[in-house]
């Protein structure tokens, strides 16, 4: 990489390049006499001195650690930015992050670095300080702000809390793998085994994908460098097959990879729309088949699939993994917090809904802090048909489905509705959706109750809104983290929502 950069810089020098080359080609002997190139290489000591560093560089440069970069995924553009290390932390240029997303200007007045986004949002950053001020509100960075060559650098870990203030929407940062998701851009996938002889592993992706496929003994790997692919509920999926026992999801340095393990050679084939990948054992005759996925067409719109709906919703359902960031929710055990269980539940529910053709906006897919007002605002502005908040608790058994306990009064003025009682007009729809979910749980013999609760932001949401609180069925708290129990719960919710699709999607 560095070698390539050096070479490209050399070529860019254009007319002066030959002159430089000529300088490189001459040298000096100890006696001060100028030597011609061929004379240099006739003297072993001098040629050794010159060639040793070149050889050393040639050996070391390719072995050096690859440059870190941050992959940014958004509806406007997908791009990659260099990450620099300062004070043993990863930093990235904030202006560079925002530039492809809108109009950005920055100026430094000697004390503060002022960033303006879309002529609407202003942020002040102070060199060497952790305090920032965005739209008049103070915020803290996890490490100090740096200014280098007029580039404002912020810690990568601060982007999850900083960018929503500029962009006004949810942002998810996968810090370990340097991946940044702006809005609900993530591509999810499900994997299931089909057929017995030979078995085939079928991956369904929510958007078209075009991974790089490679094989090695015992595994087939699909590497996604451009797609915003995110993890399933569990990083390792097991299928109970001897031919294709498991698949593993991993993220590294701005990319994601799915590795399918198998004792037999595998091939991958892709559907024409790029949304389905089928992994199957190769026959001896077809072992040499070149595996190449087709180029997917442009992404389809995210309207509700699987049946006509009276109203077109960009996202039919909004899933809210409650708590997050500093708000840990209930401390379920010394090492397990409610916020972690709700994320796993949200991912599972998302998979279940999407496998039923329901488009989903996931409000929180990382350990980000989102205020209750932000959650309600994002739900309302996306005009989803149903909002589902997920909670987890160690108390009691089974599942509780809540609708809003409406606060007193509300001060509606003409067309303007009170924020605290926004849910009022949609309460009966919420209650009927909750009743359907309760029925589905009862069918599956999972203990369930339907209640109202003074639980924000249910009362601020202008669509069907409910919260699902999951407790273990027995006394074993760890059941909350068990994927099969999570799926049992989320599949019941998804089935009820899918069955209620027409009613929920009807104009209100």
């Amino acid at each position: 990489m560095r070698w390539n950069n050096l070479r490209s810089t050399w070529w860019k020098s254009g007319a002066s390049a030959p002159r430089k080359a000529s300088k490189i080609g001459t040298g000096f002997c100890p006696g001060g006499r100028i030597l011609r190139p061929q004379q240099i290489f006739q003297r072993p000591a001098i040629s050794l001195i010159i060639s040793a560093p070149i050889l050393l560089a040639a050996i070391l440069l390719p072995a050096a650690a690859p440059d870190k970069h941050l992959s940014v995924y958004s509806t406007a553009a997908n791009y990659s930015l260099p990450v620099v290390q300062r004070d043993r932390r990863d930093y990235v240029g904030l202006l560079e992050v925002l530039e492809p997303l809108g109009k950005v200007t920055a100026k430094f007045d000697g004390q503060r670095w002022r960033l303006r986004y879309n002529n609407r949002v202003e942020g002040d950053f102070f060199v060497g300080k952790t305090r920032v001020r965005v739209q008049g509100h103070d915020a803290e960075l996890p490490a100090r702000f740096l200014l280098e060559n007029d580039r404002g650098l912020v810690p990568v870990s601060s982007l999850a809390s900083l960018l929503p203030r500029f962009l006004g929407g949810p942002v998810t940062v996968h810090e370990d793998s340097d991946r940044l998701f702006i809005g609900s851009i993530a591509t999810h996938f499900t994997a299931s085994l089909a057929g017995d002889n030979p078995p085939k592993l079928v991956f369904h992706f929510t958007t078209p994908v075009n991974p790089m496929v490679s094989t090695e003994p015992g595994a087939l790997r699909m590497t996604f460098n451009r797609e915003p692919l995110v993890a399933p509920a569990l990083p390792t999926l097991t299928f109970g097959s001897k031919v294709i026992p498991s698949a593993t999801y991993a993220e590294t340095n701005g990319g994601a990879a799915i590795t399918v393990s198998s004792p037999v050679p595998l091939i991958a084939s892709f559907s024409a729309d790029g949304r389905t990948a089928t992994i199957s054992p190769t026959s001896p005759a077809s072992a040499q088949t070149v595996v190449a996925p087709p180029t997917p067409p442009a992404p389809a719109s995210s309207s509700v699939a699987g049946g006509p709906s009276p109203v077109s919703h960009r996202y039919f359902a909004v899933i809210d993994a409650s708590h997050g960031g500093d708000d840990r929710g209930e401390t379920l055990s010394p090492t397990l917090f409610e916020k972690d269980v709700t994320i796993a539940l949200a991912r599972s529910l998302r998979q279940e809904l999407e496998s039923r053709g329901i488009t989903v906006l996931d409000l929180r897919d990382s350990d980000a802090t989102l205020s209750l007002d932000q959650r309600a605002y994002l739900t309302n502005t996306n005009r989803a048909a149903v909002y589902i908040a997920l909670h987890a608790t160690a108390g009691g058994h089974g599942v509780r489905v809540y609708t809003a306990l409406m606060p007193y009064g509300g001060d509606d003025r003409g067309p303007f509705h009170s924020w605290t009682t926004s849910q009022q007009a949609h309460l009966s729809l919420s209650q009927s959706a909750a009743a359907d979910i309760v029925n589905e749980f009862q069918k599956r013999q999972i203990p369930v109750r339907a209640l109202t609760a003074p639980l924000r932001p249910l009362n601020n949401v202008t669509t069907a809104a409910l919260a699902v609180e999951v407790a273990p069925q027995g006394s074993d708290l760890m059941q909350l983290t068990a994927p099969d129990y999570q799926q049992l719960v989320t599949s019941a919710v998804a089935t009820a929502i899918a069955a209620d699709r027409d009613r929920l999607g009807a104009p209100q």
Partner: protein, 200 residues
């Protein structure tokens, strides 16, 4: 030969050290004589008013089955509405702070005061130990709030809405879930109380 000024300096310092040692010894004796401070009082609250008793209905939360059950109690209740409200909630907290409580609250949990403001507004001011030590969870917080409000509204007619404060200030939630920013609608809470009745 030791210079005279050095000799005087050393003597002065020795005297100072001796004097401070005697003073420190004296202070140590005084501290030992002071009786130890009693530990923070974590006993359950008891109703403070003594007088003729009345039958009142307390709505007690049970964590075991997530229910709210009415419980009759003979309580000494003053004639003033505000004082009655405070005595009722004190009696309720006595149950919750007992060792055999069906819905445990943290030690030191208390209702600082209850204000009744016409028309139909009640303000319950909890102390910080009540909220800070409260268990987190939708249902467990739901039970506490419903128990307090329904106990008040069932025994003191005319309350339409209730506001819950913590240490005299508004707080976002009780323990991460139950919203404390708005006014509770007594009618809605009473309906929730019905939902929370134990399944027969």
């Amino acid at each position: 030969m030791i210079p005279r000024h050095l000799f005087i300096g050393v003597v002065v310092l020795l005297v100072a050290v001796l004097g401070m040692s005697i003073y420190a010894w004296h202070m140590r004796g005084r501290v030992a004589a002071i009786p130890a401070q009693p530990a923070a009082d974590t006993r359950a609250l008891v109703p403070t008013f003594t007088g003729p008793t009345e039958r009142a209905t307390l709505f007690v939360a049970f964590d075991e089955d997530g229910s709210l059950r009415p419980r009759s109690a003979q309580i000494s209740l003053p004639s003033g509405r505000q004082q009655r409200a405070e005595e009722l909630l004190s009696a309720l907290l006595t149950i919750y702070l007992d060792k055999t409580s069906p819905h445990t609250l943290s030690p030191g949990a208390d209702v600082r005061s209850v204000f009744l403001v016409d028309p139909g507004v009640a303000v319950i001011d909890l102390n910080s130990a009540f909220a800070d030590g409260h268990r987190s969870g939708v249902l467990v917080e739901d039970l506490t709030v419903t128990s307090l409000i329904h106990t008040l509204s069932a025994n003191i007619p005319g309350i339409l809405k209730v506001k819950i404060l913590v240490d005299g200030k508004e707080r976002e939630t009780l323990a991460g879930h139950a919203d404390l920013t708005g006014f509770y609608d007594v009618t809605a809470v009473n309906q929730l109380s019905t939902q929370l009745q134990p399944v027969q």
